[in-house]
Symmetry: C2
Subunit: 339 residues, 2 copies
């Protein structure tokens, strides 16, 4: 697959100068006359020359302008927005995002890390804090800026920005217990790896047990955490445990699906059943109800992570760990506060 692209040497020859001079003109490095500049630029235009950045990186024994970004999935709006924030910021500084979707599978992450490192990226942004042994080795050896995002970790491989998911689950459990709930349900999806959602569930369970409540049922479907899954999880959960008073969902999409199931089944919310989501998606606040949820500064996570990588690349000092926190949204889909 020989490509017939124009090289700098050809441009230089056409302009009647040496490769080096042409190179200097293109990088505007100085050390050439106006006359020469004009000649070279003219040939560049005429021949449609596009530089080969591979060679540039290679020549300088430098790193590329790539930044590898791993995201578990894009079906979840939150991750899509984190990615958008990252790419926007990186793009503004002349960097390119090389995407990796790990689908919450650790082997896939490892394989992706290996591949992306072989392209000599300038930095890496990885979702999640749990990696395979080999991944950790490769990441350590790479010697490039690395940000682990989403799940806050005070002792990251390099840098970290995210929030404490366990705490956010705990906060929700505590909040619901405070509203008088005693019999709890949880609806989510299951994955190979311990992920942030599992941490939320663990925190939620802890809060319930601390409040002497009962986590009656956790349902974990092996499916994508979307509207339909929420709908069916709710149907299944209530079929087997009709005494559950409130359900905490892995995310808002599932919660909205759950709400809709209740509405169609003739159950009043929050009268008959309470609904709580996580993530505070835009959709949750444009419904006839205000979904009880946990708001997360996801845009900020994307932006910050990109900024941290960029700072490292440019040698600026940055705070290596950032806990962006969360905010509980009381909403109207659970019992009101007893005043």
């Amino acid at each position: 697959m020989k490509n017939n692209k124009i090289s700098l040497a050809e441009v230089a020859k056409a302009a009647g100068v040496s490769k080096m001079t042409a190179s200097r003109v293109l990088r505007d490095e100085g050390g050439f006359s106006e006359q020469t500049r004009v000649k070279v630029i003219a040939e560049v235009e005429r021949l449609g020359y596009l530089p080969n950045r591979l060679a540039t990186v290679f020549a300088g024994d430098k790193r590329s302008t790539f930044v590898g970004v791993s995201i578990p999935e894009l079906g979840n709006e939150i991750f899509a927005q984190v990615l958008e924030g990252i790419d926007r910021k990186l793009g503004a500084f002349g960097h390119q995002t090389v995407l990796g979707m790990t689908e919450h599978v650790r082997d896939q992450e490892e394989k992706w890390i290996e591949t992306v490192l072989s392209w000599q990226p300038a930095g890496l942004i990885i979702t999640g804090r749990s990696h395979s042994q080999r991944s950790i080795q490769m990441l350590r050896g790479a010697g490039i800026p690395l940000v682990e995002i989403w799940d806050f970790n005070s002792n990251p491989l390099d840098m970290c920005v995210g929030l404490n998911h366990f705490d956010s689950g705990y906060a929700m459990g505590q909040f619901l217990a405070g509203r008088g709930y005693r019999k709890f349900g949880y609806a989510g999806t299951s994955h190979d790896t311990a992920n942030a959602a599992s941490a939320r569930l663990a925190g939620f369970a802890k809060a319930i047990s601390d409040a002497s409540g009962q986590l009656e049922k956790q349902i974990l479907l092996r499916d994508v955490p979307g509207f339909y899954t929420g709908y069916y999880c709710t149907e299944q959960l209530l079929a087997s445990h009709s005494d559950v008073e409130v359900i905490f969902y892995q995310n808002d999409n599932m919660a909205v699906g759950g709400y809709e199931y209740c509405a169609r089944a003739g159950l009043s919310v929050p009268g008959d059943i309470g609904i709580a989501g996580w993530g505070d998606l835009p959709i949750s606040s444009i419904q006839p109800y205000r979904l009880t949820s946990v708001a997360v500064p996801h845009l900020r996570i994307g932006q910050l992570s990109a900024e941290m990588v960029l700072a490292r690349i440019h040698g600026t000092r940055v705070q290596p760990t950032r806990d962006v926190g969360f905010r509980l949204i009381p909403g109207t889909t659970v019992w009101p506060a007893t005043s």
Copy 2:
């Protein structure tokens, strides 16, 4: 920024063989003894050698395994899912997605094309059919597989997969006129370039004029086409044109926002006002109502585009243009058919 990475030469030296032999072992090319293989592999493991793919591409004067994918934005769920479909398919075949967000701006697309081409990608997938003159030149000169997606175009630069947005807008206009509507509104967002949404609006307007209806008001906010924008567009539109009978929205998110405005303003849907969206997002079918919309096989667009690029890379023949069509969803948010 000298990197202290292990090179193949170092591995070879440690194993007591030549670079070439080590290279052969790693590529499993044959022409080496079992003994040699074991030695080389042992040193690769010991030193944690990771190949430099930049060098490979460079050496062979080949193309990389990158595929550049441009998407206008990720805030829109549909584009996120198109991207997910593409990356999944590409990843399965050992290719990496290099993301580019053009934000519907043509200059940004041009700049991205220039950059991504300089990395010698194996192929390109670009959203939209309208490009700058220089972009077209670069794309033509690149000589790599290229798929223009989203807006179907029977005469693409190379390949194309999408649907006819004009027709889909026309279909909606015709459908609504058939349901008895005469006074129409349109709510969308404005961008620099003629994009698919503009084509839909044009088709919609044509259908209305063909049916002797009246497009009372087009409102185009300079904002992201999401829930809130739909909410406020509706408020503004109805404030100035209260005689509008039905509103066609740029997408479902905006339509759901519009529905919510009507609900809060005490307007009955479809009694007082009809609502029609576009895209048929999951959210639209999990509401208490069924949104009138246009279903689009967006997952299929993503998958097909990746398949087309892969086929070209591997030298397989493929149909260069694919119209994936659309399907009108009558829904319950407009007047029922008069029987």
